[in-house]
């Protein structure tokens, strides 16, 4: 047999596509069967799948959510409690997966638009919507590499330790009144605790990889996370002290009745606390400018340098779930949760819109700012953020002490300040939308003539 | 509804395990881990008592105190161990019998 016979396609489809058979590689790990199938049917199967089957998959997910909604809302009392729990957990899983999938796709589109590119455009019919699904398919096919000198059990375990708590955090996040898996009276602390466990997975993965870059990433993560949990918690404590509850449902319900009753606009200290919380939450979910644990220009990829295939995807999913989770907490605590800006239109949709906006701001920040150095990160936390949040907590408590009918003068002053803060918030939002509209109107000019030529529909 | 006894027995087992760890390990950090076991055994006792109507909520409050104390203890102990490590480049507590630091 000569050389050419060896590389001839074996399957009829492969022959039809003139695709050479791939070199025989010994794959290990779980995805052997998938790899074999993909090697055999990939050239035709994957494009077809991406055209049609993923649409069906998406429709199935939507169906599951609809089912969960119906069951959770109406048939709930008729079912045994564990059926309800299972259904809600499955629905939450579907929701969280969609959050992560859309988040990853959205990040790429957002970064593309910010950088005057288009981002993924080909996979799927409309604006590359199936890109992260295609990437997921690719990652499943990848070999599950484990470095020889790695601490293998810990290396295998770490992605799960990162992913599972990130999902568990959603069990306490209310999407609306009654739209919560478990309305605990310590819901806020539960979310924070779960996000704290997530750190362990990262440290575990970084240590178990037995790579110096990973170890550096893990150590940075440990430093950063333990430090930034304090200002994050203190900012939330200021808000919790104002409303006097740790239950996220209670906190959201207390902000009913228009944007002026959102906690953000209650006093200047809480207004500032929202921003300190947001900064600390950026650090706690490793987002730029605090993305030191995976800073690709310093530590090759930080804690997930040695990870490949699906384990890498799990870290990725955990990150995007964490992003949405911290944004959801900010929404519930400061932005009124599911309450609408005008009274009487409360809906989980508002919650999703506000959280998505905060996630988008995270992406916006990531693609705009350079990365901070590790000593600057620690100094920013210990020297500035921590005293400042302490000040906010004390100030907010004092404000609350005097903001009552016993101090009429102060109460009037507080009302004026509240009104001013509300106007300031609206002004900021208006400025944002005005800027966005300006940018959209002048998008061709911003993009530049060279790129404009190649834009579709230009 | 489970009674108090299983919790107490579990806490006894954890206590004995913790003592065994503290005794058998020479690594200072491993000994710290053993101490955490002992503290958790005590806390579990407190919370179980509180749940089963002995002493009301003060069991949970005391458990909180124990957790806080454990955190403080871990911090100070780790600082000492790091210091120890810097001085004699090991965390073997058998090496720490000299008073010169």
């Amino acid at each position: 047999m000569n050389q050419t016979a060896n590389i001839k396609p074996q399957t009829p489809l492969g022959q039809a596509m003139f695709v050479c058979e791939r070199p025989k590689v010994e794959y290990r790990g779980l995805s052997l069967k998938i790899v074999q199938l993909a090697t055999k049917w990939g050239p035709i199967g994957i494009p077809l799948l991406l055209r049609f089957a993923w649409g069906i998959f998406f429709a199935a997910l939507v169906f599951v959510i609809a089912f969960v909604w119906v069951v959770g809302r109406f048939i709930n009392p008729l079912l045994p409690w564990f059926v309800r729990d299972v259904v809600v957990v499955v629905g939450l899983l579907a929701f969280v997966s969609i959050v992560a999938i859309i988040g990853i796709w959205g990040e790429r589109k957002v970064s593309g638009r910010i950088q005057s590119r288009l981002g993924p455009m080909r996979t799927g019919a409309w604006h590359g919507w199936a890109q992260s699904l295609a990437d997921g398919l690719k990652f499943v096919q990848k070999e599950d590499l484990i470095p020889q000198d790695a601490d293998k059990p810990l290396f295998r375990l770490a992605p799960y330790v990162a992913l599972v708590p990130a999902f568990c955090a959603y069990l306490a996040i209310p999407f609306g009144v009654g739209w919560v898996f478990h309305d605990s009276d310590v819901g806020l602390l539960f979310v924070l605790a779960m996000l704290a466990i997530e750190v362990l997975g990262v440290i575990m993965g970084g240590w178990a990889s037995n790579s110096k870059w990973s170890l550096y990433g893990a150590m940075r993560e440990g430093c950063q996370l333990v430090s930034y949990e304090i200002p994050m918690g203190l900012s939330l404590v200021a808000a919790v002290a104002w409303l006097g509850s740790l239950s996220l449902v209670e906190l959201g319900r207390a902000q009913d009745g228009g944007w002026w009753s959102w906690l953000l606009f209650q006093n200047p200290f809480l207004f500032a606390a929202f921003f300190t919380y947001y900064i600390a939450s950026l650090a706690s979910c490793k987002r730029s400018p605090f993305d030191l644990p995976e800073g690709e220009s310093e530590l090759v990829a930080g804690f997930h340098t040695e990870y490949s295939g699906f384990r890498f995807v799990m870290f990725f999913f955990a990150e995007y779930m964490g992003m949405f989770a911290v944004s959801a907490v900010a929404t519930v605590i400061f932005l009124g949760g599911w309450n609408s800006p005008v009274p009487g239109l409360a809906s989980p949709l508002w919650f999703v819109i506000k959280s998505t906006f905060l996630v988008w701001v995270q992406m916006w920040v990531r693609w705009t700012l350079p990365r901070i150095r590790i000593d600057q990160v620690m100094h920013a936390c210990v020297k500035y953020l921590l005293p400042f949040t302490l000040l906010l907590f004390v100030g907010s408590s004092l404000w609350q002490l005097y903001d009552n009918p016993d101090h009429r003068l102060f109460e009037g002053f507080a009302a004026v300040v509240r009104f001013g803060l509300g106007c300031l918030g609206l002004l900021l939002l208006g400025l944002y939308f005005a800027g966005a509209a300006y940018g959209f109107y002048h998008r061709n000019q911003l993009v530049g003539q060279m790129v404009r030529k190649h834009l579709p529909g230009a | 509804m489970m009674g108090l006894t299983p919790y107490l027995i579990l806490s006894a087992i954890l206590l004995v395990l913790g003592i065994a760890i503290v005794i058998s390990k020479r690594n200072a950090i491993a000994m710290l881990i053993g101490v955490e076991f002992i503290l958790n055994a005590a806390t579990l006792n407190l919370v179980a008592f509180s749940r089963h109507g002995i002493g009301g909520l003060s069991g949970q409050t005391a458990a909180l105190f124990v957790i806080v104390l454990a955190a403080a203890e871990a911090v100070v102990a780790l600082a000492i161990f790091l210091n120890f490590y810097h001085t004699i480049a090991t965390v073997d507590i058998d090496q720490g019998d000299q008073l010169k630091g």
Binding site: D151, L225 | T5, A20, R26, A63
Partner: protein, 176 residues
């Protein structure tokens, strides 16, 4: 029924973690087994209806102490790790003492007549807060002071040993 299953799961996990630490020789594995035990005990708190204590256990212990511990392990375990396996004679003594202690404790637990009147898991956060600032105000303040002292002490203990030199900018430059 379900409660018993969950209890035995978590209890088994905690005990397994302890045994694994006893048998383990890798300090990092020990730290992660400790975290397993802490999470299992946190789960038991949830089972006991002490949600606040359980959440605090995870938040403070797992998120703070355990991360710190793993951090310390990373900083100190690279080389010169002391031998972690006890001698044969020690094991015998240890097993003997442990068994006797366990037996004594178990017997005393089983033979005591506990007056049990189970309370419903109440909305305990407010209650705990009130008792912290009322009944337990003295200990609360003491613990605050202790935390401060511990923080200062740790910072003092972990201070740099080598006296650092001041900044030397380009003044000392000599050119060939």
């Amino acid at each position: 029924m379900l409660e018993a299953v969950i209890f035995f799961l978590l209890a088994g996990l905690a005990v397994a973690a302890g045994v694994a630490i006893l048998l383990s020789t890798s300090i990092v594995r020990m730290a992660y087994w400790l975290i397993t035990m802490l999470i299992a005990v946190g789960g038991l708190y949830f089972l006991l209806g002490a949600y606040f204590v359980g959440v605090i256990q995870i938040l403070v212990y797992v998120g703070g102490v355990a991360v710190l511990l793993v951090f310390g392990v990373m900083l100190t375990s690279r080389q010169l790790a002391p031998k972690l396996r006890p001698g044969r004679g020690e094991v015998v003594w240890l097993a003997l003492v442990g068994f006797v202690l366990l037996e004594a404790l178990t017997l005393s637990i089983l033979h005591t007549r506990w007056q049990q009147n189970a309370m419903a898991p109440a909305n305990s956060v407010g209650e705990i807060g009130r008792s912290l600032l009322g009944e337990f105000l003295g200990p609360f303040e003491l613990v605050s002071v202790l935390l401060l002292v511990a923080m200062l002490g740790a910072a003092y203990l972990a201070r740099p040993k080598v006296p650092t030199q001041g900044p030397q900018h380009a003044k000392g430059t000599t050119v060939p």
